[in-house]
Symmetry: C4
Subunit: 217 residues, 4 copies
Amino acid sequence: MPIRAIAFGRSDEFKHPDTIRAGVAEFISTFIFVFAGTGSGLALSKLTNDGPATPTGLMVAAIAHAFALFVAVSISANISGGHVNPAVTLGAFVGEEFTFDEGVGFWNAFVFEIVMTFGLVYTVYATAIDPKRGNLATTAPIAIGFIVGANILVGGAFTGASINPALSIGRVLVSWNITLPNHLVFWTASLIGGAIVGFVYDFLFMNQTYNHLPTSA
Amino acid sequence: MPIRAIAFGRSDEFKHPDTIRAGVAEFISTFIFVFAGTGSGLALSKLTNDGPATPTGLMVAAIAHAFALFVAVSISANISGGHVNPAVTLGAFVGEEFTFDEGVGFWNAFVFEIVMTFGLVYTVYATAIDPKRGNLATTAPIAIGFIVGANILVGGAFTGASINPALSIGRVLVSWNITLPNHLVFWTASLIGGAIVGFVYDFLFMNQTYNHLPTSA
Amino acid sequence: MPIRAIAFGRSDEFKHPDTIRAGVAEFISTFIFVFAGTGSGLALSKLTNDGPATPTGLMVAAIAHAFALFVAVSISANISGGHVNPAVTLGAFVGEEFTFDEGVGFWNAFVFEIVMTFGLVYTVYATAIDPKRGNLATTAPIAIGFIVGANILVGGAFTGASINPALSIGRVLVSWNITLPNHLVFWTASLIGGAIVGFVYDFLFMNQTYNHLPTSA
Amino acid sequence: MPIRAIAFGRSDEFKHPDTIRAGVAEFISTFIFVFAGTGSGLALSKLTNDGPATPTGLMVAAIAHAFALFVAVSISANISGGHVNPAVTLGAFVGEEFTFDEGVGFWNAFVFEIVMTFGLVYTVYATAIDPKRGNLATTAPIAIGFIVGANILVGGAFTGASINPALSIGRVLVSWNITLPNHLVFWTASLIGGAIVGFVYDFLFMNQTYNHLPTSA
């Protein structure tokens, strides 16, 4: 059972033979999410000088990410047979787009990033992975998208002054040439936030059901 | 049956042995909601001087609360086996974040708070607790989150001039050190609003079904 | 069958003995919708001088109405056993809140109101009343709420300059003391829009299924 | 099987005898979508001089299109028995409303349009057409609407400076009298984007299931 916490997904996902198909579907999902998420930040920068650092700019970023992540999770869930594992991947992408504000400080941004990743990954576990999710699985992609939208309304002003206007789509998708320290902060924080959920959820909530219903799907 | 109106939930919730697990899940849900709700108010205060008292500020507060409460209800519903009881808890949190405006007056704010809590708790009863809810239970968490979002667009300008910028996350979660009279107003109003729903819903709508279908789940 | 077009609902609704209970539930639903819808307009008027006549003011009005109507439909659908009949009632309320702009002219406002009511009532028919609605019934309340939100983004600037700041909640709920000509325009237009849907939908789409599946529920 | 990629829908749709009824339902759906989508652009132009080219203007356009397309898909899906084929039709309408910015250049706008149409059509395939879609079909109309909303937050500032204020509803619905080159760009780009999805999805994801489950519906 602890292996599942590390594998970060359901074990039967890896028995699926169509790994290439699932990979293509995941790539398209991620592309659609990054296109809308990062692209809306670029659009704001084009329209205004300080757009992302205003309440309206936060709203645009939040709605763009919430709607696009909801769709990205929906379309990959259907195609790759439930292979919903946006935890690390998308958590990292969300992190990418923010550079932490000088005035906020490294550790504040670090803790914020852990908290926001925790919220995202916990939502994925509770609504999309947990066998006890029931009919709320129908709205799981919406929940996963909207928690990111809600958190951007918080973190957009704190872990960074804004969505980074210097981050072009090409650089995100091709060279990953971002200032290295920021990069490491968000990856590390995302992995820590995700790992905390993995341990908490698996030992506290998952075992509970598996003991009672060992043959459930 | 009247005991159920007081217990403020389904009686079988209390037969569940995993009370600690449910408690942890409820705490995480509440934390995720408060983080986005209160945090978005702090973010607005950081970006602008009077952000929350503008239409855009209201929108940010409404969307942050709506999205985060929807997610908070979704994830606790799944884990604690349907233990959706955000009525008093979350109603109180929503209340906390608003201080009533001097110009509005005590009784206006008091009545507003009762009305808004009534709307929230009634929505919880009708979409998540009522056995007659049918397939609309799927969207119950969305409804619960969105009614709070809609009401913030009303109450944010009336029961208080804004989301209280002086209310830090730490103070909310740790010391609860808020001006006491406001505190009492919102707790009292929330409890009254919740109690009205309990009585109205239970005697008018719940009995109706239980008499006809005594063996239904 | 044509009687159904006039009765404006499903015939079995009227066989339900608990008419008083359904009436109370409908009243609460309508109250919650009007509170958020009209109240958000009042909030905008308090915060800004011309709030409702700005793009942000339109957004606040659209989101408040969309979220609140979605919730209002959800909670009445569950309690009164599917008694979703917001067609005339809510269409009229939406109309109330707008006064038509002098520059737009009577007939333009009249046609706009018919078109917007048509969209609302058609959505109610297609997603909540039509027996062929299938599993999209789950999201019917969201669709009903959101089409009103979308149309407010259009009509808020045309059929009236704004949400009427002079329309207090008390006057809406108690005296209905609104300038009579406006009142008549919106009631008449709403009834025409609703009637068009009733005829179109019933003869074109409803009969089709009833002929093939006379014993369907 | 490749014929399905060209027919751009499910083959059994064409066996449905009620083609006229389906046509009327599709027309009403499209009308409701264009009314809110184009109309919100006109409303912005009335309220402000450069509304659509501001972040708030983008938000209004995004929410109006997202909500209206969600509803348009919902109501046509129910009536015409699952005849959800907004791919070319709606993709083209979305394209219509934007004129590409001089500063962006022909090829950038062209590629943007292909990418955005790809996202829309892919979402339609994955959530509404694919037999493997499961219970996520319930939220398919929301996903289809929201991906357009998210992409407008990106493309509204790039493929055109704004929603074209000169595009009156009458011209859209009656004469289609738009500057021809723009017209051709968006139609061509939309068809290319849609065709790419048709090939990718059909050969990569559809065959997979049909081989294993040849008798599935």
